[in-house]
Symmetry: C2
Subunit: 176 residues, 2 copies
DNA sequence: TGAGTCTGATTGCAAATTGCAACTGGTTGC
DNA sequence: GCAACCAGTTGCAATTTGCAATCAGACTCA
């Protein structure tokens, strides 16, 4: 399994849509990035056991390896815990946010989503590019350590999560 | 192989991102929609033999079946040719355009795209939502037969194709 | 009428990927 | 010292993919 393939390798074509699908075109990669981005999961066990869709540990390990190789996320040791790994989004990964916003909007419109799990997508859609930028800045601070303009009040993820909690509380029977 | 699954079926979760991935999360489905949308391919043979990435006929047949079942495209008989099928985008399929625009922008920024094959993505990015709407109107007219506001001059797809041709002509060695 | 072509696929088969459950070797906190 | 926790690995069956060959029913032209 060759790890790095930076430029001209065996690509099906040089089309941006095709190349993106070669990196992210499967049923799990974007799920993992979603959990890191919106759920703030940074460790293997968090990603494994808190995942809504029930990802298997071998698939998770494989996808994390691939995403690191593709430069969408990075992996480093946790200084406080000798065999604990911390996964972080790279800038390349953070900039997937607009794609998530669009995918969320489409899914919300055309697929049988549950209300609780789609409230975040709705807020992201309504917030538009300005909100996306704010969230991406927040992610850059958390994942890349880049200090950005301080904004008052709770962060974007926090607000999204609060909205989710509110809806979920109203519908105790629904899936968490 | 059960065909229809409209509402509550065996979904991994009700998250809009997950549900979208369940429909489109593989390496070929979006490629086919892309060819229909930007390449104006409407028949099996066109999709098969003009495809840039070399899709196999069994995969194409399977994905067309799935996309029809999911309501992203529709299939009807060609009246002029008894065993010829015409595939059309549905409104659900047409509204994938903003996702393509975002994916194209991300791929262009982060992956080793070729200039000729990414010029369309660039124009779509620069044109913004106004251009997307114009293109979607054009697609509604072509695929759904919905008459829309007449606009003067060549259509969006035509303009995108012309730009591609111009770049490709400048670089005869590059992939078509 | 019959040969050749075009149509949307299907078939057979090897290789790769997925999903599931059990397990591993090491670390940490008590 | 020991239970709990950590990031994965391993083995295996089932499914999916990729590839090439093939198919049967229209159409085309002579």
């Amino acid at each position: 399994m060759t790890a790095e393939r930076e430029e001209s390798d065996t690509h099906r074509s040089g089309c941006p849509i095709n190349l993106t699908l070669e990196v992210l075109g499967d049923k799990w990669s974007l799920i993992i990035v979603r959990d890191m981005m919106f759920g703030n999961r940074r460790h293997f066990r968090e990603l494994l056991s808190q995942n809504e869709e029930g990802i298997a540990s071998n698939i998770l390990a494989d996808r994390l390896r691939r995403l690191v190789a593709e430069g969408v996320i990075s992996r480093e040791d946790d200084p406080s815990h000798k065999q604990k790994a911390i996964y972080s989004l790279t800038e390349k990964g953070i900039e997937l946010l607009p794609i998530f916003a669009m995918i969320g909007a489409w899914g919300r419109r055309w697929l049988p989503v549950t209300e609780a799990l789609s409230i975040r997508a709705q807020l992201l859609e309504e917030g538009g590019p300005a909100l996306w930028e704010e969230f991406m800045d927040e992610l850059r601070q958390e994942h890349l350590g880049i200090p950005t303009k301080q904004r008052p009040g709770p962060g974007v993820r926090e607000r999204l999560y609060a909205a989710y909690q509110e809806v979920a509380a109203r519908q105790p029977s629904a899936q968490l």
